[in-house]
């Protein structure tokens, strides 16, 4: 059974059609890469999978673990095991990282009918995740993403992924704007949570991360459609040749 399946997905935002029939399947234990030029609809796809309220699905379905979640509430998707690392994580002023992480953790536990996490367990779990993602301890008392640098925000997203242990993670350009060490940290984080039960979709513009987290499948999104699919060799090809040839192919096919 595929883990996440996108079927003929058409999506509009503000009356503009952004996704125009996307098909994509991610199986358990698979790592996929999604590439494509700026504005091709990658973030839109990630957001619609997560249930962004500003996006309208006009046709098609999103199936996760056998269930149609096209209309499911955002928080429900998260508690089912979906996770998206944001391309631009949002700041929540006045809410410390500690308070936020506890609230999220407890929301998941309460939904599962479990008791709230003890202070001790919480501290241990978070400290381990901070060590894994190289987030300094002082960040516990900072407001979530407020004044964080680009790289710090990205590491905070991976930290949350490590804590949440989703069964399907979508990383929207988590590798953008990272220095070499931070990239390694993010890759370690991803490899740490990856496993035979998990699906991962990495949205990226760069080869670098794909050498550290090796995808078995590569998709190219162009103007709201997946126009090319292949193995890791496709990444090298894109890096060499850019997207021009894909554009030519699409136009030739349309003519």
């Amino acid at each position: 059974m595929p883990h996440l399946e996108i079927r003929n997905l058409h999506v509009r935002a503000d009356e503009k059609e952004i996704l125009r029939g996307v098909d994509l399947t991610v199986g358990k234990g698979e790592i996929h890469a999604l590439m494509g030029p700026n504005g091709s609809g990658k973030s839109t796809l990630a957001n619609v999978i997560m249930g962004h309220p500003g996006l309208d699905v006009t046709e098609g379905q999103i199936i996760f673990e056998g269930q149609d979640i096209t209309e499911a509430a955002v928080d429900e998707r998260a508690r089912m095991g979906l996770f998206m690392a944001f391309q631009y994580p949002v700041a929540i002023p006045g809410v410390t990282v500690t308070k936020y992480l506890r609230t999220v953790m407890n929301a998941h536990r309460i939904a599962r009918g479990e008791a709230e996490i003890s202070l001790k367990d919480f501290r241990q779990t978070v400290e381990a995740a901070m060590a894994l993602t190289d987030v300094p301890r002082e960040f516990s008392t900072r407001y979530l993403n407020d004044g964080f640098s680009g790289g710090e925000k990205k590491r905070m997203e991976i930290l949350q992924m490590a804590l949440q242990k989703p069964s399907m993670a979508i990383l929207d350009e988590t590798d953008s704007g990272l220095d070499i060490d931070a990239l390694q940290v993010v890759a370690n984080g991803v490899n740490h949570v990856a496993g035979p039960e998990m699906g991962i979709l990495i949205i990226t513009h760069y080869q670098r991360i794909l050498h550290l987290v090796e995808p078995g499948f590569v998709h190219v999104l162009y103007q709201g459609r997946i126009v090319k699919q292949g193995g890791p060799e496709l990444v090298t090809l894109l890096e060499e040749k850019g997207y021009g040839w894909i554009k030519d192919e699409v136009e030739a096919a349309a003519a």
């Binding site: 249930g51 955002v74 949002v90 002023p93 006045g94 999220v104 929301a107 998941h108």
Partner: protein, 416 residues
């Protein structure tokens, strides 16, 4: 009031005459454009009856007394002091009426000298205020325990005129907490307060005033502080209750090197209307004022904050800041923020900011994407909004009291 001190009797007589010649403000009265008192008929509010001490327990407090706190309770017309005998030369925490009798030389120079404006509410207060409270700290002394004043309106359809005078002599220190409460959430009272504060040279005062009157009550307040050379005032205000009215909070930095930090939070729901009118008056050089308000409004509640920074000629090197931020939780809630500057000196730094916003849907999406149900996500964002104000204070009694009060009030505002 047969034995009232001559000092008060004279003032009352004058104020009574004045009050009868003054009329209620209307929408054309400067400062009253956003607060409508058409529905107010002063004749509907009789004098406060004799109060009953047992009502103290029945009012939900905002602040609990800190260990060893000196306390005065006012319940309608009844004043209950903590029984500590006032000793000349020592700090005094006593009823104002009693102080006017025993220590007129301490009261007379200040009473009515700070709040001197003459509108109908001020005049009515002066004519009819109950025993009130007087806090006095002599030169270089400090009140080593906080004071808690609890003023409770138990009667309905009555006017409670409350008056507080705080005088800190040179180098003195004190911390005064005050709360205005109602017993019955359905009672419709009129609460009229005047607070006069003198912070002497190099003196230090923390003054915290919270109101959680019934949501059918009127509140009118004129609260004004004068801070003298190198004095420092830390003023905190909480507006949680009441149906409508207006509270003025004015700080005059009267002496060189004086400073004031003013922090306010207000919340509304239902059809509440809150009005805070703040003034930061810089009348001497090298003075600093830092004012921050935050408001949270749900349902059809409304609020107006008007803030004026006034820098007088000669008040060079003034550093003044004011900001007011509102978070609207419903489409029908409304806030007005009107910052103002009147600057007559040239070497000054004055900054202001005002914001009125709803919760950002992208914040809610982010939090929901991590598994938080909508109500929880909203609450977290709101708590953060309020927390930023609470963080103006280091961990300690103020920080804790503000957190507790706002957290509790959030349940009321959100209806949970």
């Amino acid at each position: 009031m047969a034995t009232e001190a001559p000092l008060l009797a004279t003032r009352r007589k004058r104020a009574t005459a004045l009050a009868s010649s003054l009329t209620l403000p209307d929408a054309r009265t400067p400062g009253w454009e956003f607060t409508d008192v058409k529905g107010l008929d002063l004749a509907n509010f009789g004098p406060s009856p004799d109060g009953q001490a047992s009502m103290r327990e029945r009012a939900t407090a905002i602040f609990e007394p800190q260990d060893g706190a000196r306390q005065i309770d006012q319940i309608d017309g009844l004043t209950v002091t903590d029984g500590v005998q006032p000793t000349p030369g020592q700090p005094l925490v006593m009823s104002l009426a009693k102080a006017a009798e025993l220590f007129p030389e301490l009261v007379e120079p200040h009473l009515g000298s700070i709040v001197a404006s003459e509108d109908v509410f001020v005049a009515n207060n002066e004519a009819a205020f109950t025993a009130g409270a007087f806090i006095y700290v002599p030169r270089n002394q400090s009140l080593d325990v906080p004071v808690l004043l609890t003023v409770i309106q138990a009667a309905t359809a009555a006017a409670l005129n409350w008056r507080l005078l705080i005088v800190l002599e040179e180098g003195a220190q004190a911390e005064v907490w005050e709360q205005y409460l109602s017993v019955d959430p359905e009672s419709a009272g009129l609460f009229n307060t005047i607070v006069e504060i003198v912070v002497g040279p190099g003196a230090n005062l923390r003054y915290v005033c919270g109101q959680s009157l019934s949501e059918k009550s009127w509140i009118f307040g004129t609260q004004r502080a004068e801070v003298q050379r190198d004095g420092n005032l830390d003023w905190v205000a909480l507006g949680l209750g009441s149906a409508g009215g207006k509270v003025r909070m004015e700080t005059k930095l009267a002496g060189a090197g004086s400073s004031a930090k003013v922090t306010g939070a207000y919340t509304g729901h239902g059809r509440q209307h809150l009005d805070f009118d703040t003034t930061q008056e810089h009348a001497a050089p090298n003075t600093v004022s830092d004012l921050a308000f935050r408001g949270l409004l749900n349902e059809r509640s409304t609020a107006v904050w008007r803030g004026m920074i006034r820098v007088e000629p000669g008040a060079q090197q003034t550093d003044a800041f004011q900001e007011c931020r509102n978070l609207l939780l419903s489409k029908r809630a409304h806030a007005d923020s009107i910052p103002g500057l009147e600057i007559e000196a040239n070497d000054v730094r004055c900054t202001h900011a005002a914001a009125i916003a709803q919760i950002d849907p992208e914040q809610l999406f982010y939090l929901a994407s991590r598994g938080l149900p909508e109500a929880m996500a909203k609450r977290l964002v709101i708590e953060g909004f309020l927390q930023e104000l609470v963080e103006r204070f280091p961990e300690g009694p103020i920080h804790a009291a503000l957190s507790t009060a706002l957290e509790r009030q959030l349940n009321t505002v959100l209806g949970v």
